[in-house]
């Protein structure tokens, strides 16, 4: 004799419940890691402070991708005549805002009455 069959909705609700518990676990893990991250970040900020670093080391292929904040204005072929834009990092970095943030306002000219 077959036993009482389990309702499909019970199986679904259990599985979704398990996923929801994992989701909460993920939030908890992120919270716990954030606490631990403080130590790691402190040693990194000390390195940034003592060396006066200005950029993160994400793309190392060219000067303007290694130090985007220090680079010349973004220009293709700036490394070499055959140096095409480095792909895909060149595409991931957004184009500069206009007017360029490096542009300084000219000293005010005397106004004519």
């Amino acid at each position: 004799m077959a036993g009482p069959s389990v309702r499909k909705s019970s199986i679904y609700l259990s599985l979704t419940g398990a996923l929801a518990v994992l989701f909460l676990g993920m939030l908890l893990h992120a919270k716990v890691q954030a606490g631990r991250a403080m130590n790691q970040r402190e040693s990194n900020t000390a390195l940034v402070r003592s060396l006066g670093l200005t950029d993160l080391c994400i793309f190392t292929e060219a000067r303007y991708t290694r130090h985007p904040a220090m680079a010349d204005r973004h220009a293709a072929f700036q490394d070499h005549p055959m140096g095409l834009d480095h792909f895909p990092s060149g595409s991931l970095v957004a184009p500069p805002t206009f007017p360029s943030p490096h542009a300084r306002p000219h000293p005010a000219l005397p106004q004519h009455p």
């Binding site: 994992l22 970040r41 040693s43 990194n44 390195l47 190392t60 292929e61 895909p88 990092s89």
Partner: protein
């Protein structure tokens, strides 16, 4: 009291049976949906974690960096200008920085060589980042050879390898004594790569920058706010590939969901007709379809988010590695620290669940309100 709950359970049971009757189609839909959520969530987690690291770390960067431009290009600056800048009111400290790039022909990668005056680095010794150690296959105590400006090799003792945790800022660094940097690059005394400036009051920085440009018209001051803004712009929503990846993924998914929903099979129409003829109301049919959609959406959303979290924060976004690596030979292997907030998750929810719901709602409404007799005849 149990009646309303039972009604929903019964409809959920029916919805699950209905989904299982078209197992292949619904499983493939859930699979594609999960994949879309996974890709979008991975991108958002990755970008937000990098932006957060940039914000947290670069807050310690110099308040201002002053470069010298010659014929429109960055050139070494006279260290003597440091004295003149130090005399500007509001400037606390001016530190000449000595650094440059070194292309290593042996493994074809670019290194950042930097002088470190604050740490006791012996002459002819270096501290190197993890990426450099990995590529050169060296350990502490080994010797590395760098080609000086005149082509002659210079030997350096690896005194220390910077910790793995610092790879996000130090992977390609080679730190050495200032004298060694000058010997390696033939960098003349009295010149520096740029000047790092610390101001007493950050609000005075624009004024200090204006005074520097007035006194040295060939100088280019870069404020810390601009450094931070650069990293906000990197991987921005508006930036290059990001728009293409996000836009095309979302659009193709909306088309997929629309196609699935509008292509209600004759069997489904007949099913709706039968349900209505035996007494189901349009609202019941809509509730049934709502449950079908919720089962698919919720499963795909939760699974996609969890997979993305594991992918980005446990496996360092391996699937994106080839896209990010680009031409880099020396690729930093940083482990990102989880940075989640309610805003990201809400954005993800609206980016994925909303298009699906919107794409399926109208066709289902049309099917649910159809005359049962007409539905069964078709």
């Amino acid at each position: 009291m149990r009646a309303p709950t039972q009604r929903y359970r019964n409809i959920l049971d029916f919805a699950l049976s209905s989904l299982l009757r078209r197992k292949g189609r619904n499983l493939s839909l859930t699979g594609v949906y999960t994949l879309v959520v996974f890709v979008l969530a991975s991108l958002i987690f990755f970008v937000q974690a990098l932006k957060r690291e940039a914000r947290e770390l670069l807050v310690q960067a110099p308040d201002m960096v002053v470069q010298r431009l010659v014929a429109g290009r960055h050139d070494p600056i006279l260290a003597a200008q440091a004295e003149a800048i130090r005399s500007i009111r509001g400037v606390l400290e001016v530190r000449p920085r000595l650094w440059g790039y070194y292309y290593d022909p042996a493994f074809g990668g670019n290194l950042t060589v930097m002088a470190n005056e604050h740490e006791p680095i012996a002459a002819d010794a270096v501290w190197i980042g993890q990426g450099v150690a990995r590529n050169m296959r060296v350990n502490e105590g080994d010797l590395i050879s760098l080609r000086a400006y005149d082509g002659l090799p210079m030997l350096f003792l690896v005194q220390k390898i910077l910790p793995t945790e610092s790879e996000l800022v130090s992977s390609d660094l080679v730190l050495m004594a200032p004298r060694d940097v000058r010997s390696l690059f033939h960098f003349p005394e009295g010149l520096a790569t740029d000047l790092a400036i610390t101001a007493g009051n950050p609000r005075e920085l624009p004024t200090i920058a204006a005074k520097i440009v007035e006194r040295f018209p060939d100088a280019r001051p870069i404020l810390k706010a601009e450094l931070l803004r650069t990293y906000e712009a990197v991987f921005d929503w508006r930036g290059g590939l990001m728009v293409v990846v996000l836009g095309s993924a979302l659009l193709s998914f909306v088309i997929f969901a629309w196609d699935k929903a509008t292509g209600l099979s004759a069997e489904e129409r007949r099913e709706i007709g039968i349900l209505k003829s035996i007494g189901w109301e349009s609202s019941d049919v809509l509730l049934l379809k709502f449950w079908e959609g919720t089962v698919v959406s919720l499963t795909a959303f939760l699974s996609g988010i969890l997979l993305a979290y594991v992918h980005v924060f446990f496996f360092s976004a391996r699937l994106f590695e080839h896209a990010l690596k680009g031409w880099s030979v020396l690729f930093p292997r940083y482990r990102l620290l989880p940075a989640l907030d309610g805003y990201q998750l809400t954005v993800l929810f609206f980016l994925t669940v909303l298009p699906y719901t919107a794409a399926t709602l109208v066709p289902i409404w049309r099917a649910a309100t159809v005359d049962p007799d007409a539905a069964m005849r078709t």
